[in-house]
């Protein structure tokens, strides 16, 4: 059998997290709403209505284009895509055809093996979502709540080469969308939907063979599984001497199987033409510059910087750039702590992440701010409190608020480094333990730890271990 290479392009539909819909002032997100309650004459396509563009969709679309290193189109147009379907109340979808908001661009993927892979973007365009239909007793029930939800459709070039790469693309795209704040990117809620174009070719070949389009692969697992299934099917077909036909396939996540929807050859002519009810979307050079300037440092860039500047491991850098508020939290804490960045990352990777898990909060939502974390770490590092106290302080600040130093003071959590207080305790222990003192003095120096333990027991763990050790040696060797 020959070796085959899989060629994959992904079309993603990204729901923008605006307040209102793209062409009317209904709420953008209808999650949990009763059917047909978040509709108006415009989005339900009543006769006589006209669309009015939501300016925020343009800003978010352009910001996403900038994040993809795409060219932001100074003049883009809306077009009508005409077809009949019950979820499409106007009988046409308002979308962008030949002059979309963003053209070209790329996204660099960080692969798990440490390599990076560049996926070119063909284009990004703004469009309205359609409604939802469900089938019950052979009839279709139609809900228009989702009509008019703003989407960016983003299409990659056929640059992905494996199911794993496709999954990585989606994972990192989801991270990026949240990072730049244009989408909640919750795949379970359909904020990020995906169609995959799959073809195969002999390894080493550069031709693009006939592809099939897999619709409705709406989770990262589904993308991985569907591509594996489909590429396997294509390879078997080609090996059996068959030709691949241009099908549209539907992924059934429940059974993990692909179902043929229709042959693409019969695809309708959508008769695109400029939407006469809308004006061209014009972005001045200043507006475009503003969008680009508002683009935050991207996760992949920040990850590289963390490794370089803070000497983090790739693993730590991945975690600490997985989400923007966490990443900002980290940098702020490092700055306020002023000491080794690695110390802060240890705290965040272990104790803070546990706190976030336990409370279900994101870094941005924590009551414990970077200034508190920095103070706690500083107290531990400076020997003012022991690490266990430091850890418990995280929870105390989060639960009750207040400054860590005040809590330490109020609750008497500070370490006892005072010579008089410690010397008395040590003298008493030496007096009570003649046998151990004798053994120590006879050369069994490992008993020092036992003495330290005794001091800790008597002080409730609050004795400064360093000072205790010094004083013990002083008195034992006397």
């Amino acid at each position: 059998m020959k070796t085959y290479e899989i060629v994959i392009g992904l079309e993603t539909h990204i729901q923008l997290n605006t307040t209102s819909k793209i062409f009317c002032s209904c709420k953008a997100d209808s999650w949990g709403a009763e059917p047909n309650t978040n509709i108006c004459p415009v989005c339900s396509g009543l006769p006589g209505v006209l669309p009015v563009l939501n300016v925020e969709t343009v800003r978010k679309g352009a910001l996403l284009a900038a994040a993809m290193h795409a060219e932001i189109n100074p003049v883009s147009y809306f077009d009508r895509k005409n077809y009949f379907y019950p979820d499409l109340p106007k009988g046409y979808q308002i979308t962008q055809f030949d002059e979309p908001i963003g053209k070209g661009g790329y996204m660099d993927l960080q692969m798990p093996d440490g390599t990076s892979r560049r996926v070119r973007i063909h284009k990004l365009h703004l469009e309205e979502d359609a409604g939802k239909t469900k089938i019950e007793d052979g009839e279709r029930l139609v809900d228009f709540n989702r009509c008019g939800v703003p989407l960016v459709e983003m299409v990659t070039e056929p640059d992905l080469r494996s199911a794993e790469e496709a999954a990585q693309y989606l994972t990192q795209l989801r991270q990026l969308l949240r990072w730049i704040g244009v989408s909640e990117a919750d795949m379970e809620r359909g904020h990020l939907r995906c169609d995959a174009n799959v073809s195969i070719r002999e390894a080493g070949s550069t031709v693009l063979n006939t592809k099939t389009e897999i619709k409705n692969v709406n989770s990262i697992d589904a993308v991985r599984l569907a591509i594996i299934e489909e590429s396997k099917r294509q390879i078997e077909a080609v090996e059996a001497g068959q030709r691949i036909q241009s099908y549209t396939l539907d992924w059934d996540a429940d059974t993990g199987t692909l179902r043929k929807m229709r042959s693409k050859e019969t695809e309708a002519d959508y008769r695109y033409f400029r939407e006469p009810d809308l004006l061209p979307v014009v972005l001045s050079a200043e507006e475009i510059a503003e969008v680009i300037a508002s683009l935050p440092e991207l996760p992949i860039e920040r990850r590289a910087r963390f490794i370089q500047d803070y000497q983090l491991s790739a693993y730590d850098a991945d975690i600490l750039t997985s989400e923007r508020s966490l990443s900002d939290y980290y940098e702020e804490s490092v700055r306020l702590f002023g000491g080794a960045a690695k110390v802060v990352s240890n705290w965040m990777m272990n104790d803070l992440s546990r706190l976030m898990n336990d409370t279900g909060k994101s870094a941005a939502e924590l009551r414990l701010r970077p200034i508190d974390l920095a103070e706690i770490i500083r107290m531990v590092e400076g020997g003012k409190i022991n690490p266990a106290t430091g850890k418990s302080l995280l929870g105390k600040v989060e639960a009750g608020g207040g400054k860590p130093a005040e809590i330490v003071e109020r609750e008497g959590l500070g370490l006892i480094a005072d010579e008089d207080a410690l010397s008395g305790q040590i003298a008493a222990i030496i007096a009570e333990s003649p046998a151990e003192v004798e053994s120590f003095r006879a050369g069994k120096e490992s008993l020092l730890g036992w003495f330290v333990g005794q001091v800790m027991r008597r002080t409730g763990g609050k004795a400064d271990p360093k000072r205790t050790r010094e004083l013990l040696l002083e008195q034992l060797k006397r």
Binding site: L46, P47, R80, N82, F273, P276
Partner: protein, 534 residues
């Protein structure tokens, strides 16, 4: 005296002054409707009393209840000393292509026979706010697709009040007829290729197509979205100006509505035509008509009275101090209809996609095997022949393999049509026109059934008007005499972008100068009987 003889200005002035009750105004007009209109257009008027032949049939629905509520509101405001607005107590008929909450809005199509819009068009809302009484919905060509109003699914179609054997023109035929027959002093129409001006000319009233975007399209059931303009029909120029004042202005619900400031149109009328430059064009004294088999174009003359009316109007304006500029070239005017056949059909076909029996209006009651069949049966039964024809034409010329040849080309020819006007109106150019004066129509009102069915000939009724829609510029048609058969003749002034004030000034000057002309004393046939009895 019945208020049906008053102008809109007079009615509003008297109602605001408390000299006339809005309720009485309404009753006068309802009485007139009863006297001259006959049965309203309906889907079920199979056999009609022969007497109905002589009636106007302007209305599909007379909205007595709605108008009465509005009249009561106006009266309450008058009694409280509040200002009910510039159209206080003025009955306005609305072409049944505008969504009006509280009425059935049919577009004269079976497919919307029972549609009750849950919202009101911006233009109608503005009329209501100005104190107008929405007296009813007027008949039209189905979805506005025609130039005679005969293609309505709601029969009988409107008849021309001047001669009920003649058509009203269209598609705002019911609107023009209702104004001519004194059933309402004002009507709200729409003009996509001439649908306000052509019926206004046929029915002897004033019809203004504003600049594209001057009046909001929100709530107007779309035909050609890049061409459609709501506008007033009135019995005189001042009333048209008054109504335009209420309609005009930016609407946040219509992205294509214009930011340009709205001048005081009534005040502008008083400025006269002295020094205005009025153009005449030889490209508007004939039409270029295609052989429908070969596509060969040939020049055909128009009814001679049309050209002589234009000459007469020019002479009057010249006497008033206007400068007449002869031989203004409009070489692309002849492309107006072919270009329109493409652009308007592409937009229409798409705009009709939403009528599928799913959400509103008509749904087939035939048993269907599935949803596609439901679509087909609903649209087959719900649409008349003209919508079907426009859907098919629009789909053909915008198909992927034809779009470049037809649709994309037509959009560029549209630019050329526009450039003719830009050249003529250029203040630094050779012609420096304030207005271009042309006939409104190639003929006066034609006989019923004479053109119906010949879709090409019917479309050429708009040859004189359609260029204004392509160019987006304003144009007003005004009465300028009667032909030997006693049928009204209309002439038209085209103006530059958002300068409705200039063309209204020219129209008003002519109207005032010919105030006492014999032909202005003629009474439409449909009114003679009721006039005698009144």
């Amino acid at each position: 005296m019945s208020s049906i003889r008053l102008s809109a200005r007079q009615i509003a002035q008297k109602v605001r002054a408390g000299e006339l009750s809005a309720l009485n105004v309404l009753e006068d007009h309802l009485r007139q409707i009863k006297a001259v209109d006959g049965v309203p257009g309906s889907l079920q008027n199979a056999s009609l009393d022969p007497a109905e032949e002589g009636k106007v049939h302007a209305f599909i629905e007379v909205s007595t209840g709605l108008a009465r509520q509005q009249a009561e509101k106006v009266q309450t405001m008058v009694q409280r000393g509040e200002d009910p607005g510039p159209l206080a107590g003025v009955p306005v008929s609305i072409k049944d292509i505008f969504c009006v909450k509280g009425t059935t809005t049919t577009a004269a199509s079976r497919i919307l026979y029972n549609f009750r819009p849950p919202y009101t068009a911006t233009t109608v809302e503005r009329l209501e706010k100005a104190g107008a009484l929405i007296i009813g919905k007027t008949n039209l060509d189905e979805f506005t697709y025609g130039s005679s109003s005969e293609s309505s699914a709601f029969q009988p179609h409107p008849n021309n009040p001047w001669n009920t054997q003649r058509v009203t023109g269209g598609s705002s035929g019911g609107s023009a007829a209702s104004v001519a027959a004194r059933e309402a002093p004002l009507s709200l129409g729409t003009d996509t290729g001439g649908s306000i001006r052509q019926p206004a000319a046929f029915c002897g009233v004033v019809g203004l197509k504003p600049s594209y975007g001057r009046t909001s399209r929100y709530g107007l059931i779309a035909f050609g979205s890049s061409l459609d303009c709501p506008g007033p029909l009135a019995r005189d120029v001042s009333d048209a100006a008054l109504m335009l004042q209420v309609l005009a202005g930016l609407d946040p619900k219509d992205s294509t509505s214009a930011l340009a400031p709205v001048p005081d149109y009534l005040a502008a009328l008083q400025e006269g035509v002295r020094g205005m430059r009025i153009g005449l064009s030889r490209d508007y004294d004939h039409i270029t008509y295609p052989d429908t088999l070969t596509g060969e174009m040939s020049v055909q003359s128009i009814q001679p009275e049309m050209n002589s009316a234009v000459r007469d109007v020019a002479e009057v304006l010249a006497r008033l101090g206007a400068e007449i500029v002869e031989d203004v070239p409009m070489p692309n005017a002849r492309h107006g209809i072919p270009t329109y056949f493409v652009i308007s059909r592409v937009e229409a076909a798409s705009n009709l996609h939403r009528f599928d029996g799913v959400k509103y209006g008509y749904r087939t009651s035939a048993p269907v095997r599935g949803l596609s069949e439901l679509y087909r049966a609903t649209r087959a039964e719900g649409f008349g022949l003209q919508p079907k024809l426009r859907i098919l034409m629009g789909m053909y010329v915008s198909a992927a393999q034809h779009s470049a040849q037809y649709y994309q080309k037509a959009l560029r020819v549209r630019s050329m049509i526009r450039s003719d006007f830009e050249l003529a109106f250029d203040p630094q150019g050779v012609y420096r026109l304030d207005a271009l004066l042309t006939p409104t129509t190639p003929t006066t009102a034609f006989r019923r059934s004479e053109v119906m069915g010949d879709s090409v000939l019917m479309q050429y009724s708009d040859q004189m008007t359609v260029a204004g829609n392509h160019a987006g510029i304003p144009a007003v048609s005004i009465p300028a005499g009667l032909d030997p058969l006693g049928l009204p003749i209309g002439v038209q002034f085209f103006g530059m972008d958002f300068r409705e004030d200039l063309i209204l000034r020219a129209a008003y000057a002519y109207e005032q100068a010919t105030e006492n002309a014999d032909w202005r004393r003629a009474i439409p046939q449909a009114l003679r009987e009721s006039e005698v009895s009144a």
